[in-house]
Subunit: 406 residues, 2 copies
């Protein structure tokens, strides 16, 4: 059993200091990927790592890596998460995993513990996907998305990723993406209510939920709101409203399912014109692949049938498709052992959100540690995880690292 | 009976020439109020009127007036409409009334007919209301809206009306707004299917429909789309979708009613976050005031009840309130007489849209002439009225002017 203890006070102070970069309007953060605030967070991360004597580099997609050498020249154990946030995001989502990783390396330095394998801490680029598809950094790192293809994409305001990458001061380096990794561990807040409601501290994550996202487009006919009789309209807004409720009802009827329409727009819309164009995002999730397939087929078919009945055209473009991802039994066992040796109450749990760990699980043994989110709230400025729960998560991460880095 | 005949070919050429300013993407127009295109249309209108020897001036809200003197110094007979369009608007909505008015004055000039009263042709500022409330020019002219209040308003992109007015080259003059008017006649396309389906050419408009508009705001709680169970969500998008369908169903169930939600937005929305803020426009219309009152009360109450049931906050701000407007029996009789003496098939009709004539009817005798819209389509780039129908409308306008100007 280890005698190393992480410093919860130091970890908490780091979290609060990072939260000063890109403050929101209600106590949280607005630190969108590629923004000046993201850039500033990257700079602070680099300086903190360098002050700890770590070797820091970035790959060509601006993923940041800080390495503590091992006694042997082996593929490293990778730990970390992300520092970008949603536009009305919290102070813990992603940030906890990065700063707890830094705390782990600080503990190893302070105790002068030499691990057999190097331990590398990562800050992934654009995990949140608030402006374009999420988890692009780990997608590029693992080869699931080609670097050139990623750089050529544009966000929802039409800005090229390559231009935004090149504008970062703490941006891309000359090498990579990708290098051999022994295993990957990510500490993260749960972002749901399960642990808190059960009075538990540590979630040992067994798999990542499957999710699919679409951009839906409804095409009706613009017509004057006054003289156009209701029965001759082809109203794209009405078709989109049906779509929102079809998805919502289908997810409520299927245990474990989630459906979210988070963004809607009426390009060239006018308050006195029947809408001809409505754009809507749809996000569907389930932990079971067959159930996700059935949910997907049913929702899209009902939306299309309803649009057709209204004389409205319907098109959908899939923007993300991530199957459920089982995590590695060895990494799960190490995290479970670390939880037990520290006496933290906990449970095995499925991750309802997508994480960089899901991409990593496709190329190396991977696993995740969850800590509670107050009221289950995340992607919200009031997101909160207590100092004690942050410290507990970091302690389980430290002890898992000691087991897996040798 | 008059021997004056309007020149339908000259009128049509003017319509097509005006349509070259601010072309749309599908054969129509995008000539928003206060835009450079609107400004260019104003300049062309002024030059055409000056070439006809008319005295042209603008009031302090940039309403343009071109006057042909009468034999006596009396309040003028006012005719006209507007030259601004919807963002995906047509070539006839408003433009026909202005250019047919010019054609009437050209005919009077060519025949050297001297009317007793002056005849003044008007181009009203910002009739369409695509960027802010509609019919502001005639509201300011009639005193329903104070000039200073109108200038201080901002559009949906936050631009001040005063700044946009001051930026016009063909903008505001030093005098007015408002002057005594003997009567007002507006020729306009029907913007609905009634005349065409009945095989008729002229609609003698007996009243303007009543309409009310609101900006609706739904306030839920932003939360991560993955780990947040369906049953704990407070989803503003779902509440807004219910609102769209509540309004649509209520209008379909009440003969003569109209309900339109033309514009929707999710400020700071993300495809992976349950929406916390949704903004939606609502437009309700009916020709009968008591029915409009009942429709309004029922729709807003149901929307609020549904939002509350979802744990979503609801607020609504009324942006326009226009009661049904009966037109003047004398003006109606003159238009009816002009229709009959020309042998045009037609009917009495209610206007489903708001028009500047509705504002004018509150301060002077007013009336409207409708001509058919192909397929009932308007506020759409494919909007069309045939050269023959345009000429018929202008002829009825000319003969009505001769009766009312003496």
């Amino acid at each position: 059993m280890t005698l190393l203890r992480i410093d919860g006070e130091r970890l908490w102070q780091g979290l609060m200091q990072m939260a000063e970069i890109g403050p929101g309007v209600a106590g949280g953060n607005n630190r969108l990927a590629f923004s000046p605030e993201d850039d500033a967070a990257r700079g602070l991360f680099r300086r903190w790592c360098q002050a700890e004597g770590l070797s820091v580099h970035s790959d060509r997609f601006a993923n940041q890596f800080a390495t503590r050498d091992g006694s042997e020249d082996l593929p490293p154990l990778l730990i970390g998460s992300h520092l970008d946030t949603q536009p009305t995001g919290g102070r813990f989502d992603g940030v906890l995993g990065v700063l707890a990783g830094l705390e782990v390396l600080r503990c190893l330095n302070a105790a002068d513990v030499r691990t057999r394998r190097p331990v590398t801490l990562v800050n992934w680029t654009n995990e949140e996907g608030a402006i374009i598809r999420p988890m692009m950094g780990s997608e590029v790192f693992t080869g699931a998305l080609a670097l050139d293809q990623a750089r050529a994409m544009t966000d929802h305001r039409g800005r090229r990723i390559s231009d935004m990458l090149d504008a970062l001061e703490n941006g891309a380096g000359p090498n990579g993406p990708g290098f051999p990794v022994h295993a990957y561990i990510e500490l993260h807040i749960e972002q749901g209510p399960v642990l808190e409601q059960a009075g538990e501290v540590i979630g040992v994550v067994t798999s990542g939920i499957g999710f699919r996202r679409w951009q839906l487009r409804f095409s009706g006919q613009d017509a004057h709101a006054g003289p156009t009789p209701m029965e001759t309209r082809r109203d794209a807004m009405v078709a989109a409203a049906h779509a929102v409720l079809i998805a919502d009802r289908a997810a409520r009827a299927l245990p474990g399912a989630r459906a979210t329409c988070g963004r809607i727009a009426t390009p060239n819309g006018s308050q006195v014109t029947v809408a001809s164009q409505v754009e809507l995002t749809l996000d569907l999730r389930h932990e079971d692949l067959a159930q996700l397939d059935r949910l997907t087929a049913r929702v899209l078919r009902e939306i299309e049938d309803q649009a057709l009945a209204l004389g409205v055209g319907f098109a959908c473009e899939k923007t993300t498709d991530s199957s459920p991802v089982p995590f590695d039994s060895g990494v799960i066992a190490a995290i479970e052992a670390a939880r037990i040796q520290n006496g933290f109450p906990g449970r095995r749990i499925v991750s309802g959100a997508g994480h960089d760990a899901c991409n990593m699980a496709r190329v190396c043994p991977a696993g995740m540690i969850f800590v509670p989110s107050a009221n289950g709230i995340s992607h919200n400025e009031t997101e909160y995880t207590s100092p004690e729960h942050c410290a507990a998560g970091a302690q389980v991460l430290l002890d898992s690292v000691l087991m897996l880095a040798g």
